[in-house]
């Protein structure tokens, strides 16, 4: 029931928000996201005591063997929590902003939250597919209605790309459905299919392409920098903080347990693609002048590392990925909040026009430094533990992959520190002289981010305990 509420609250709030005017949608969004955060924490507590009570099965289309089957495991709880926290942070940050047609804006934001939670809780393949698509539609409208000047073409490319990927996945899902012993879409039936290796060989790609487009992995990433740049920043936060996790989640939940031999067969290829992506994206990020594009490319590099670690095929790296999914979400949202602040004050995204903001906006500068350091995985920040586990897992799998992926860390330090330097240090100019420091809402959101960074950096055990159940289960099946 708790799990259903996690989907239903944002869904219903989203529908109501469409009809509200003025500041109504804002308040509703805030209430709904607070409620989901509380529920998600409740789900965490419940998960420690009675995990089975989080699962629910109801009849949906019995003729097809598809049921409404929601549930939460450690990974699910963590991602639902991330989704809830992400939307809370977004709503706090933009509380003082006024968007055109606020009802539609907040309504679509809440609907996308419902769709994402649906993806993370689905234990039925057909239902998973449906939520997977549904999460996309509100984001498509959000980007196309409130985005930058090239928004229509860019978001359209994004949509067609991901839609193509998901259609291929649907073919795979239907094919697997006919292989199940009891003709059912449930996760347990899917993960107990015995497929012959030849089938696994090509089935792997049907799923992997869908997930790789979503993450995105080189060479399927071309939609991502444009979309991040053109989207309104609150949407970018959801996109990069939560939505890309759908791809990683898909690999862990629906690819590794279902097509284990296929994954093992192609793991080298997948890791090579990821490593190419890490180095390629980091190099581009180094020469980027556009703040939003820089963070977009840095996100490709980070996601690439996580995907490589998944295919490294051991429990340690998987655990690192799981914990990093949460931490990367928090960090990148923090970075986007600062981008939103800067963009709102200065109206530009070009880093050449910035500089010396530390003097005018010291609080923002401190937050930016802390979050950036967390983003490169400095010890005692939340980014460290995940990256350490992932690298150690990757090292056990193959030294060379680890060495090349490790280059990404060095490059990340180069472009992140370069970014800090260009944005907040150096000479101020006419434009940056007019900057004001953070407003209360923004301070609150960034403080929450920094608290999470430090707490999870110093004491990551609760989060590790939460996800360890998933990494054990998946690793056994793999």
């Amino acid at each position: 029931m708790l799990t259903v509420l996690l989907i239903l609250i944002p869904f219903i709030a989203g529908l109501i928000a469409f009809g509200l005017k003025g500041s109504g949608p804002k308040v509703l969004g805030m209430i709904s996201s607070l409620a989901t955060v509380v529920l998600a924490i409740g789900a965490w507590c419940r998960f420690r005591t009675a995990p089975d009570s989080l699962n629910l099965v109801a009849n949906w289309i019995p003729q097809l063997g598809s049921q409404f089957r929601v549930g939460l495991d450690g990974m699910g709880v963590m991602l639902c929590l991330l989704t809830a926290i992400a939307s809370l942070l977004v709503f706090i940050t933009i509380y003082s902003r006024d968007y055109e047609k606020p009802g539609a804006f907040y309504g679509l934001m809440l609907l996308s939250q419902a769709g994402l939670t649906g993806v993370f809780t689905a234990f039925d393949a057909l239902q998973f597919y449906i939520f997977w698509e549904l999460a996309l539609i509100p984001v498509y409208f959000l980007c196309s209605l409130w985005g930058g000047e090239k928004r229509i073409a860019v978001t359209f490319k994004f949509f067609v790309y991901t839609f193509l990927g998901s259609l291929l996945m649907m073919v795979g899902i239907i094919y697997l459905y006919f292989q199940t012993a009891d003709h059912s879409f449930s996760w347990s039936s899917f993960s107990s299919i015995h497929l012959n290796p030849d089938d696994q060989k090509w089935l792997f790609w049907l799923f992997f392409v869908a997930f790789a487009i979503k993450m995105p992995i080189f060479p399927f990433h071309t939609w991502q920098p444009d979309t991040y740049e053109q989207s309104p920043t609150p949407v970018t936060m959801i996109l990069s903080g939560v939505m890309v996790k759908m791809g990683l989640f898909g690999v862990i939940r629906w690819l590794l347990p279902v097509i284990p031999q296929g994954a093992a067969m192609w793991s080298d290829v997948a890791i090579v693609l990821c490593v190419i992506g890490i180095i390629y994206a980091s190099c581009i990020a180094m020469v980027q002048n556009d703040l939003k594009r820089l963070i977009a490319y840095s996100s490709i590099a980070h996601i690439g590392l996580m995907c490589a670690a998944i295919f490294a095929n051991n429990e340690q790296s998987l655990q690192g990925v799981l914990i990093q999914m949460f931490n990367h979400g928090i960090n990148i949202i923090g970075l986007w909040i600062i981008v939103e602040v800067i963009q709102q004050r200065l109206g530009v995204k070009n880093m050449d026009q910035m500089g010396g903001m530390a003097r005018k906006a010291p609080r923002m500068a401190i937050f930016l430094v802390i979050i950036s350091l967390a983003n490169i995985g400095l010890p005692l920040t939340n980014g460290f533990i995940g990256e350490f586990l992932m690298f150690s897992g990757l090292f056990q799998y193959n030294h060379w992959f680890m060495a090349f992926a490790g280059l990404g860390i060095i490059l990340a330090a180069v472009y992140t520190l370069g970014m800090i330097q260009k944005v907040i240090f150096g000479e101020s100019n006419d434009l940056t002289d007019t900057t004001t420091d953070l407003q209360p809402g923004e301070t609150l959101a960034l403080s929450l981010v920094v608290i999470m960074i430090i707490v999870l950096g110093v004491y990551p055990k609760p989060m590790l305990d939460l996800v360890s159940s998933t990494s054990e289960v998946v690793n056994k099946l793999f």
């Binding site: 289309i61 229509i152 649907m170």
Partner: protein
Amino acid sequence: MNALISTALSGVVLMFVGLFVRNKQHIKFFAIAAIIIAFIANLAQYPSVEHGGYVMYGMIEVTKFGVLFNAVALGATLLYFLLSGSEFEKVGEHVADYFTLVFFILAGISLAATFSNLLMLFLAIEIMSIPQYILAGADKKSLKGNEASLKYFLMGSFSTGILLMGITLIYGAAGTFDIAGLGLGTESVHPLALCGIILIVFALSFKVSAAPFHFWTPDVYDGSPTVFTSFMSTIVKAGAFVAFLRMFHGSFAGGTISEHWTLILSIITAVTLVIGNFSAVFQQSVKRMLAYSSIAQAGFMLFAVVAMNDMGTQGIVLYAAAYSIATIGVFGVLMKLKDYTFEGFNGLARKQPLLAAATAVFLFSLAGIPVTAGFFAKYFVLSAAIQHGHLLWLVILAVLCAAISVYYYFRVIIAMYFRTGEPEVENISGGFKAALILAVALVLVLGLFPNLLLCWL
């Protein structure tokens, strides 16, 4: 059976009503009442066929499938009358005649869903086709309409001729017209039967506008009065598909014989998907885009015929319903606009939010996005093909084409929501809005619970 009788009778009655009733509004109400009666009469037959079919002199066999399909066709026509019924009077003077012709077409469709004899197949196709030739040219003053009508008539009668030749050859091989008793599949296939089957494939491909027999489609659909294009490209096309399905499942399935035609038909399917989708991308007029989209959707419906399994049978019912409702809805909105190009939709969301939202749902359904009926329709036909086992290449091709179809469907959504403009819209009546909301509700309900329809099968 009830559907056949009631629609044929309604047609005749409406013809006479046209003589005595001058008020066009009243004629429309008569037609709506008649279609509701036909719908109920058709459903009333369901209990009697629930356990085995109802056979009539070996000519007609009413099965659950036939009743269900007729219900879909009649229900969709009811929706069509509610949405676009008032457009009939804008075409010309003889409103009652147009309604009459529509009812005759429906009689043909209900025959197509229930025939069990090759002669009945021929009759069904002819009854469906001839009124269409007239409807295509209903607007006598329009040059394009005249061209469409003549083109349709010439090519349509040519293909009916081919159908007849095919039937003759099969009769020569089998010695019977009874589709269940043809017995062609058991041993080696008679060369005459093979020629006959190929001719029938070609003729029926023409009727469902599958490539490379689709050349008439864009011109006819574009030239005909829009209100009739809406009917011809949806319900009538679904009717032709049912004839196709019944014919091939009834007598050419199984054994060695199916190997001979599945390859031809799967190539036709592939070509249809590619040509339909790629041509639709380049259209400037929404009406013409919908004509090509109907070719593309026909490609998907052909899957059900090629796959020859229960999944396909369910799929064709669902596809017929989903595709008909959505396309009728889009055409309904299109007819309210003055400008049929994509630009004509610019800024519609701001001026007419309800119309724009409904159109968006219909287009989502056509593109096959979840929670709309179109998703499950595509799901079923693709499942049917995957279950078949040897058609995976076709399935992959189909999903690639489906991704292309997003391009042209979303062009309309982009125009409505993200571009600014001043679309010229006719007055929207309350009844139209109610019918539109009904259609949207149907699309969404079938998208969530497809079993509401399929549990009858």
